[in-house]
C-alpha cells in the first residue's frame, strides 16, 4: 500500500487530535506517522499525517467532515519539502566508534551522547536520508530509535516552476 502525506490545518481546540485519529481508525485507514504542532496563528494547529491507503479521496473527504478541520492539502512528494528528526542510539564498542562517527559525519548526524558501549546521534533531514542512515548503522546494532514523524509543506510555486524548466 502506498504512503500519502496530508497537511491538515485544524482548529487549536481540545480533542482535535483524538477526533482525527479516531476518524482514521473508524474508517480503516492506517496512520504511518503523525506530527502535530502550533502554527503562526495561535488559533490553528498543523498536523502532518502520513497515511497508508490505496487512495486518498475518501480519507480527505472523511477528514473534511470533522468540524474542526479547516483545510487539507495532499502533498505531492515531488513538489513538497519533507523533514524528519531522529534520535538514535547505536551500539558502539570503543573499537567501532571511529567508523560509526565517520558515517555520522557523512549524514550530518550530530553525536549527542557517547557512552562506554553506545553513541547517540541526532539526525534531521529528508525521510529518505534518515532511512539510509539507519540502514548503514543497523549492522552495528540499534539500541533505541525515536522519530519525530514527518513534517512537510508544499514548495513555493516559483521553485516548482524552476524545477519544471530544469
Amino acid at each position: 500500500m502506498s504512503q500519502h502525506t496530508l497537511s491538515v490545518l485544524v482548529e487549536n481546540k481540545p480533542s482535535v487530535l483524538a477526533r482525527v485519529s479516531s476518524l482514521l481508525a473508524r474508517r480503516g485507514f492506517n496512520i504511518h506517522s503523525m506530527a502535530v504542532g502550533p502554527t503562526a496563528d495561535e488559533g490553528l494547529s498543523r498536523m502532518t499525517i502520513v497515511v497508508d491507503a490505496p487512495e486518498m479521496e475518501q480519507v480527505k473527504k472523511q477528514l473534511h467532515k470533522l468540524i474542526n478541520v479547516v483545510r487539507i492539502t495532499e502533498l505531492d512528494p515531488d513538489d513538497s519539502l519533507e523533514r524528519e528528526i531522529m534520535l538514535v542510539r547505536i551500539a558502539a564498542t570503543p573499537g567501532k566508534r571511529g567508523e560509526i562517527l565517520e558515517i555520522g559525519t557523512i549524514f550530518k548526524a550530530t553525536a549527542i551522547d557517547v557512552g562506554p558501549t553506545s553513541i547517540a546521534f541526532t539526525v534531521s533531514g529528508e525521510p529518505r536520508k534518515i532511512n539510509d542512515f539507519v540502514e548503514l548503522v543497523r549492522p552495528f546494532g540499534i539500541v533505541e530509535l525515536v522519530k519525530s514523524g514527518r513534517i512537510a509543506m508544499a514548495r513555493d510555486l516559483k521553485s516548482r516552476k524552476l524545477k519544471a524548466i530544469g
Binding site: 479516531s22 467532515k65 468540524i67 483545510r71
Partner: protein
C-alpha cells in the same frame, strides 16, 4: 451587570433557538438545568428511558423537520443516549443532545456516574462539545443547532459539567458563528449540472434513484417537476419513501434487498442513474460489482464524502438536493419531454407481471401485509407511519402507499429495534393534530414499550399496531433461508406478554385481532379513540416471509420473488 447561571443560560439558549419541546430524563449532574426549565415556555416530556428520549427527539425531527432536543444526565444516561445518536448520525436526523457531566474537578477521576461522554460519542455524532467555561454556553448551543440542521443534518452532543451549569455568567446573544472548518456546499457547481443534463438527454433507460436527501432538503416538489419534465421514472429508497407519491405513473417504489421487482430491475437494466440524496447503501446495491452494471452515474449529495464512496460517479455534484434539482430544472430547456415510451412501457410490463403479492385466505392466519393494506385504507394517506426494524418495516414500506414526505419514519441505516414507539411519541408531540400510527413487530415492541407510559401520562395519543408473529421474524427468515431451517433464539412466544393487558397497565387501550375478518373492525375501533394511546395486537402468520429478496451481498439480478422461487 446581572448574571445568570450556566443552567439558566442553557435554557435561555434553547429558547433562543426556538425549541418547543425537550425530551429528557433528569439526574444528578443535569439537576441544575431542571430548575430553570420550570419557568420556561419549553415543554419537557419525561421519557421513561434515556434511549426513549433520544428516539423521541429523532421522531420529532423526522416529522417536523426541526431539530429534536433530548436532555439527560451523565454516565449511564449518556451511554443510553449513544444508540439514538448513532441512529441519527447514519440517518442524517437533526438532533441536539444535552448531557450533564460530573463537575470539572472530578472529570477523569472515575467519579459517580462519570462516563467519557464526548469520547464515547465521537463516532456517533456529527460533532460534540465538552464545555469548560459557562460563558461559552450561548455560542456553543447556537453552533450545535447550526451544525445539526445544516449541510448533511445530524446529531450534536453538548456535555455540560455540573459546576459549569452552576457557574455565573453574563448572558449574551450568541455571537456570529465561528466555524472556519464548516461550510457546507449548497449551490452546485454549474459545470457538472451541464454535464448531467447532457447525459440525461442522451440516455435511453434512465432511473432517478432518490432517498432521504430529498426529504431532508424539502426537494419533493422539485423532484416531481424534474421527473415529469424529463420523464424519468423514480425509485425511492427506504429513507426516501414519500419523496414522490407512490401512485404517480413515474413512481417505481422501493429498490434494494426487499424492493419490488420493477424498482430493482429498472436499476439493473438502466443506462443512467440520476442519484440524488442517496448513498449507495449495501441494502440497495447488493453486490456493488454487479449493481446497475450498464449505468452511468450522476450522483448529487450535500455530503461530498458520499460521492464515489461506493460507486464511482461519472458526474459528481456536491450540493443541497433542492438546489441541485432547481439548477437542473433551470438548465432543462426542452419544451417537450423526451419520448421514453419504450422504456416506460417495459417498466409497466414488469409492474404488471411481477407485482408484490401475498395470499390472504379468509379462514387462514392474518397476513401481515393485509394488516398494512387495511391500515392504509382505513387510517388514510395523511397518517404518519412509524416503524421499527425487521419484517414489519419492510412490509410497511412495501405496502403503504405514500403520498407525501415526512409521513414515513423509521430506523433505516442503523436498524435500531425499539425505535418505533418512542419515535412515534416524538412525532406526535411535534405534530399533535396528525394521526401517528406506529407499525411495530413484537420483537421490536418489547425493547421500548415503557415509552407508552410517557405517551399516556403526557397526553400523547399515539397508536401502535403490533404485528405479532411470536418471533424475531427477519432473523427467523434468514435462518430458514440460509441456515437450513435450524431456528436459534428466535422464538418469542405468542402469549407472553399479554399485549392487551400490558397496554392497559400502561394507561393505553389494548385491542387484539386474531382472524382476518377482525382486522378491519379492530383498526376502525382504534381510530375511534383519540384521548389515549391505543395498542392493537394483530396475531399474524408466523411463517410469512418478506419477498422479493436479494440475499445479502448477492447480485440484484438474482432477485427471489417468492417462496416458490427459492433455489
Amino acid at each position: 451587570m446581572s448574571t445568570i447561571t450556566g443552567a439558566q443560560a442553557l435554557i435561555k439558549a434553547l429558547e433562543y433557538e426556538g425549541v418547543e419541546i425537550v425530551f429528557g430524563v433528569p439526574g444528578g449532574a443535569i439537576l441544575p438545568a431542571y430548575d430553570p426549565i420550570i419557568d420556561s415556555p419549553i415543554r419537557h416530556i419525561l421519557a421513561r428511558h434515556e434511549q426513549g428520549a433520544g428516539h423521541m427527539a429523532e421522531g420529532y425531527a423526522w416529522a417536523t423537520g426541526r431539530v429534536g432536543v433530548a436532555m439527560v444526565t451523565s454516565g449511564p444516561a449518556a451511554t443510553n443516549m449513544v444508540t439514538p445518536l448513532a441512529d441519527a448520525l447514519v440517518d442524517s436526523v437533526p438532533m441536539v443532545a444535552i448531557t450533564g457531566q460530573v463537575p470539572t474537578h472530578a472529570v477523569g477521576n472515575d467519579a459517580f456516574q462519570e462516563a467519557y461522554t464526548t469520547g464515547i460519542t465521537m463516532g456517533a455524532t456529527k460533532h460534540n462539545y465538552f464545555v469548560t467555561d459557562a460563558r461559552e454556553i450561548p455560542d456553543v448551543i447556537h453552533e450545535a443547532f447550526h451544525i445539526a440542521a445544516t449541510g448533511r443534518p445530524g446529531p450534536v452532543l453538548v456535555d455540560l459539567p455540573k459546576d459549569i451549569l452552576n457557574a455565573e455568567l453574563v448572558w449574551h446573544r450568541p455571537a456570529q458563528l465561528n466555524l472556519p472548518g464548516y461550510k457546507p456546499t449548497v449551490d452546485a457547481h454549474p459545470r457538472p449540472i451541464k454535464e448531467a443534463i447532457k447525459l440525461i438527454e442522451t440516455s435511453r433507460r434512465p432511473v432517478m434513484y432518490v432517498g432521504g436527501g430529498i426529504i431532508k432538503a424539502c426537494a419533493h416538489e422539485e423532484l416531481l417537476r424534474f421527473a415529469e419534465a424529463t420523464q424519468i421514472p423514480v425509485v425511492t429508497t427506504l429513507m426516501g419513501r414519500g419523496a414522490i407519491p407512490d401512485a404517480h405513473p413515474l413512481a417505481l417504489g422501493m429498490p434494494g434487498m426487499h424492493g419490488n421487482y420493477t424498482a430493482v430491475t429498472a436499476m439493473q437494466k438502466s443506462d443512467l442513474l440520476v442519484s440524488i440524496g442517496v448513498r449507495f447503501d449495501d441494502r440497495v446495491t447488493g453486490d456493488p460489482d454487479t449493481f446497475a452494471p450498464h449505468a452511468k452515474v450522476i450522483h448529487a449529495d450535500v455530503d461530498p464524502a458520499e460521492i464515489g464512496k461506493v460507486r464511482v460517479a461519472d458526474v459528481p455534484i456536491v450540493g443541497d438536493a433542492r438546489r441541485v434539482l432547481q439548477q437542473l430544472l433551470e438548465k432543462w430547456d426542452h419544451e417537450t419531454s423526451p419520448d421514453r415510451t419504450e422504456w416506460l412501457d417495459t417498466l409497466r410490463g414488469w409492474q404488471r407481471d411481477f407485482p408484490l403479492h401475498y395470499d390472504q385466505q379468509p379462514d387462514g392466519p392474518i397476513k401481515p401485509q393485509y394488516v398494512i393494506e387495511e391500515l392504509n385504507r382505513l387510517a388514510g394517506p395523511d397518517t404518519i407511519v412509524v416503524s421499527g426494524v425487521g419484517q414489519h418495516q419492510m412490509w410497511a414500506s412495501q405496502y403503504w402507499k405514500f403520498t407525501e414526505p415526512r409521513k414515513w419514519i423509521n430506523s433505516g441505516g442503523l436498524g435500531t429495534m425499539g425505535f418505533a414507539v418512542p419515535a412515534a411519541v416524538g412525532a406526535k408531540a411535534g405534530k399533535p393534530d396528525e394521526l401517528v400510527y406506529a407499525i411495530d413487530g413484537d420483537g421490536c415492541f418489547q425493547m421500548t414499550p415503557q415509552e407508552l407510559i410517557t405517551a399516556s401520562v403526557e397526553g400523547i395519543p399515539i397508536k401502535v399496531a403490533i404485528l405479532n408473529n411470536g418471533a424475531h421474524g427477519m432473523v427467523k427468515q434468514w435462518q430458514n433461508l440460509f441456515y437450513g431451517g435450524r431456528l436459534s433464539a428466535v422464538d418469542l412466544g405468542r402469549d407472553v406478554p399479554n399485549y392487551v393487558k400490558l397496554a392497559e397497565a400502561m394507561g393505553c387501550v389494548g385491542l387484539r385481532a386474531e382472524t382476518p375478518d377482525e382486522v378491519g373492525p379492530t383498526i376502525e375501533k382504534s381510530l375511534s379513540i383519540d384521548d389515549r394511546p391505543v395498542v392493537v395486537e394483530f396475531v399474524t402468520d408466523t411463517d410469512e416471509m418478506v419477498f422479493p429478496m436479494v440475499p445479502a451481498g448477492g447480485s440484484n439480478d438474482d432477485i427471489i420473488l417468492s417462496r416458490e422461487d427459492l433455489p
